[in-house]
Symmetry: C2
Amino acid sequence: MSDSNRWIDESYQGVVRTGFRLKRRLFKAKSAFQTIEIVETSGHGKLLLIDGMTMVSERDEFVYHEMMAHVPLFLHPRPRRVLVIGGGDGGAVREVLRHKTVELCVLVEIDGQVVSASKKYIPQTAAALSSRRARVIIEDGVKFVRETSERFDVILVDSTEPFGPAKELFGASFYKDVRRILTEHGIVVSQAGSPFYELGTIKNLAKILKAVFPVSDAYLFTNLTYPGGLWAFAYASKGVHPVRHFNSGRVKSARLPLRWYNAEVHAGAFALPEFLRKAVGR
Amino acid sequence: MSDSNRWIDESYQGVVRTGFRLKRRLFKAKSAFQTIEIVETSGHGKLLLIDGMTMVSERDEFVYHEMMAHVPLFLHPRPRRVLVIGGGDGGAVREVLRHKTVELCVLVEIDGQVVSASKKYIPQTAAALSSRRARVIIEDGVKFVRETSERFDVILVDSTEPFGPAKELFGASFYKDVRRILTEHGIVVSQAGSPFYELGTIKNLAKILKAVFPVSDAYLFTNLTYPGGLWAFAYASKGVHPVRHFNSGRVKSARLPLRWYNAEVHAGAFALPEFLRKAVGR
């Protein structure tokens, strides 16, 4: 058996690669936007890959999705309407819908094939997309935020990398539209890349958010499948400070069945390593 | 060129591997204890590997060494004498010696060839071993703590994995000896493995430290070269609580030239993800 049959490797910037022991390949399709793959591994459950980059591993996707959703949802005074841009795997929607105040979670995913493959092969992650409180729209997220007349309390930008179809999701005009469709205490959280390998991306995003929003910051999480382990979210809000306005009692009394996020982790995630603190100008 | 000539891969538990783009192999020796290798990579500087596992990468070793040394050294009221067990690469000693109160840092490394290879090939990490305030002893660390009549304010257990030569460094009798040779406000910090992949190791170590010391805890850091990125240190002390007794002003006024550790990171590192908090019984 050749090496590529035993490992599924993601090479990153040509200098590092992460490989997962392969059991079998389940699905591969080339959509209008990208290549979508689902594989089964020996130690990490099923993986969803887009253009060869791991987006979801069943073993640890809870970290990314919990940290993306619960930080803003426990900060917003009463989140009722949530928008997820990208995230066709459904993991972010699953975490959003754990909050009882949420009446509607709209997912706008550019690629319908990501949604259908996720529903079929990784239901642990995607099942929430079939909830009565979820609405799935197959459309370009940039176009959606530019044109919609709807308003949202929390927006999650669950994108792929800052190139290819997701490129505009890292730009200033997109974030001006995001601000327009956020309600009074609105919060936006965006996947922002690796502090070690993509410091430039984080710096650019930090600069844009600082210019567009009165409150902006960054926070960190670690998972098994993204290169380097450590990864960042960008945070911005019309007025909610992510640490000073955080009420840890709310997390405790909600008693959600979470495996990563808790009140201490919330505060700790905003502690930025010295080189990153300098880079984002905090 | 075959694949193994282009990447240096570390396979872990048979289910995951991390590979670094290889430039050239610089050194390989089989000592009485283990296989030692130094290679040069395209994106991560030089790596030190022991038995095929990456111990140090020049690009990011500062994270591990800063987090291991500065957490206890900024907590101890006045650290003068520090002991490092293992850590023959010298990175922990380098960080310890940044503290002006430290008069002597003793390094006890079982394998003299780790020290000599590190001094020759990775001086950025190892140069501090030649300091007048450092004393290098080539001896089994377990034997040293059992027999020494010296006393230390801070002890760092900078070990390899909990099998092979370092096995006893994860046992109860070792920690009883550590307690004996610690001074009144003494603190010990130990490399404790991956929360994702080695939860059992962390749980065992937490149980031992809880039985031997009045104060025990765990804290986290993330680097590029250890599988999964996220890694843990075990913390124990004769009386210094790692968060309640922490004085952030001391960090600010010390003005050390650090790239990772700062006062916020200190506190944030003790925020344990929910599954880990439960596992260590905090």
